[in-house]
């Protein structure tokens, strides 16, 4: 079977004067045409490195990768003709030019005739709801509208494969929702294109993706539909525990037998820590509770349904935030 995106044992090593980092460690994935595929992992997991290799911006150290059946190293020009790339948090373009002028410029990189480009730009601006800002300088657009512009740029050339690297990073809830809805509609109804999306927002991956690969330290730990991934951990129980201290040391949790993993979110505003603990049985929970009470005051306890974050916790033993912080410290 021919996949739209396929990687085989992809390894990428970065060498600097002081260190060697293995950003990808034997990544093998196959993505079918028309699929919305999510790569979920903390900062530094290797998501962006994989996207950069697939979009011909980076060479793999070893392994092979294909997009639309074309080898990303040997047939990079053919790959570039069929892809679109949108990175969140980036605002490519020229601030002094208007939104419309920027889009026209980028359309020229794909050899579009000016009349086709203008028509397409008008359509995309209407679809993404920013026609009213067409003549406004890019530098004067809000983050949300800049990201709409960015997405419109990625779709200008009618790509058959769209790479989205954290497309809703830093956006408000409404704009993020609007863009997510638009991308799903684009992939499923309009263009029937394939989407590879990287994110560290669990809900985003859950809402949008047909399948999700969980990536950590350059390795794919699991790859299934969000539903199956969540079902796989249904044998475990998950509790949300809020404790009164922001500085509570809860590292002992990982040493309790029967604890699969946990995440912690500390809130400066409320001065509390929200823990999410995944464990195997009731007796484990009794131990967790008694150990926690020795260290801090428990404010509330509630049971929750499994999410993709819990899938990640079950695979890695820690939450996203802790893992990102750990990687930043390692680096």
């Amino acid at each position: 079977m021919q996949y739209c995106i396929e990687t085989k044992g992809l390894v990428r090593i970065f060498k600097t004067k002081n260190e060697t980092v293995k950003a990808l460690d034997g990544v093998t994935v196959s993505i079918s045409e028309g699929e919305i595929f999510g790569l979920l992992g903390p900062n530094g997991a290797g998501k962006t490195t994989l996207i950069k290799i697939l979009t011909t911006l980076l060479l793999p150290t070893t392994g092979e990768a294909y997009v639309g059946g074309f080898n990303v190293v040997k047939e990079s020009d053919k790959v570039r003709r069929i892809i679109g790339l949108v990175s969140g948090g980036e605002t490519p373009g020229y601030g002094i030019l208007s939104a419309r002028e920027n889009l026209w410029f980028f359309s020229q990189l794909y050899g579009m005739s000016s009349s086709n480009a203008k028509e397409k730009i008008k359509l995309l601006m209407a679809d993404l709801d920013f026609e009213q800002y067409a003549s406004k300088r890019m530098s004067r657009l809000s983050t949300g509208y800049k990201q709409r512009l960015n997405l419109a740029r990625g779709l200008l050339s009618d790509p058959s494969v769209l790479f989205l690297d954290e497309p809703t990073l830093g956006l408000d809830v409404l704009t993020a929702k609007k863009l997510r809805g638009y991308i799903v509609d684009w992939a499923k109804k309009e263009a029937k294109g394939t989407v590879l999306l990287t994110t560290h927002y669990m809900a985003e991956a859950d809402e949008m993706c047909d399948r999700v690969a969980i990536i950590d330290r350059g390795r794919i730990l699991a790859c299934e539909s969000p539903k199956v991934l969540k079902e796989n951990i249904k044998g475990n129980q998950i509790m949300k525990i809020e404790v009164s201290s922001i500085q509570a040391d809860v590292s002992f949790l990982s040493k309790i037998s029967g604890v699969v993993g946990y995440s912690e979110t500390r809130s400066i505003q409320t001065g509390t820590t929200a823990l999410k603990v995944m464990f195997e049985d009731e007796s484990t929970f009794t131990e967790i509770k008694s150990e926690l009470e020795k260290k801090t005051k428990i404010l509330s306890i509630s049971e929750t349904e499994p999410t993709l974050e819990d899938v990640y916790i079950s695979l890695v033993g820690r939450g996203f935030e802790e893992q990102s912080a750990e990687m930043a410290t390692d680096a």
Binding site: T56, E90, Y94
Partner: protein, 269 residues
């Protein structure tokens, strides 16, 4: 092949358009870019007048200042452009597009030439009117020829630098600083290079601008013709013939190196 050529021309035109549109959208920039060089020229002209230097020196300085506008443009807007594109995230978009990188550079160069020619022409006209410098043009076509050849050679050098800036970022930034004043000095912005010691003239001959500036001055100020400045013309052709393919090679080499090392799109490296 034809399709690729049309695509490349579209890209070059689009990048030219961005530069011209962006460069002239805020007219106060234009004013500053024309006024400041005229002030600098004035200082030298009054100095030469005070020293009772030959009248032609004023003309030399005005032509020098006019051409130096191009050198500044090459260094800061042409060579450094890919570096800025990298910082703003545009480079990633360029590299992921099915487009010739040389077409982008060509567009940048042409845009820079259009913008700078407007400014340089204003400097030349204002300078000759204010200081009443007599121009003795015998062969206008030769003047145009030397100007075009100089621009091609100097911007080809800029294209070559663009690859280095793209890869070496901040280090190359210092190189640009290092290149500005010495090139002003060597190529004869302040005075004709024939007054420099032979060894320095030899070093100056490695800079295409030296031949261009000397040729243009001789045609505009001294009234010389193609027969007198054929060596300058030949040198500029040789510079272009070497620098343009070298720029293309450097760009490909740097892009591949960048993709291997991850330096092109990962800003932390």
């Amino acid at each position: 092949m034809r399709e690729q050529l049309i695509r490349d021309l579209r890209v070059a035109f689009a990048r030219l358009w961005v530069r011209v549109k962006g460069g002239n959208r805020e007219p106060e920039w234009l004013l500053a870019e024309m006024t400041i060089p005229i002030l600098t020229l004035s200082a030298y002209i009054y100095l030469y007048k005070m020293l009772n230097a030959p009248a032609e020196f004023a003309g030399f300085v005005i032509v020098g200042g006019t051409m130096m506008a191009f050198w500044s443009n090459v260094l800061w807007n042409m060579s450094a452009q890919f570096y800025w594109e990298k910082e703003t995230g545009n480079l990633e978009i360029y590299l992921a597009a099915p487009v010739s990188r040389m077409a982008i550079l060509l567009g940048m160069a042409l845009g820079g030439i259009v913008n700078t020619t407007l400014r340089a022409a204003a400097i030349l006209v204002a300078g000759t009117v204010i200081f009443q410098v007599p121009l003795m043009i015998q062969e206008p076509l030769t003047a145009v020829l030397v100007f075009i050849l100089t621009i091609i050679a100097v911007y080809a050098l800029g294209m070559l630098f663009a690859s280095l800036f793209m890869m070496y970022g901040r280090e190359a930034w210092h190189t640009a600083n290092l290149l500005q004043e010495p090139v002003y000095f060597l190529s004869g912005f302040y005075f004709p290079t024939r007054y420099l010691p032979f060894a320095v003239q030899l070093v100056a001959s490695l800079v295409p601008l030296t031949f261009g500036l000397d040729g243009i001055r001789r045609v505009l100020i001294l009234g010389e013709g193609l027969g007198d400045i054929w060596l300058n013309v030949a040198a500029l052709i040789v510079f272009s013939a070497i620098l343009l393919p070298l720029a293309r090679f450097a760009l490909n080499y740097m892009e591949n190196l960048g993709k291997r090392e991850g330096r092109l799109t990962l800003r932390w490296q």
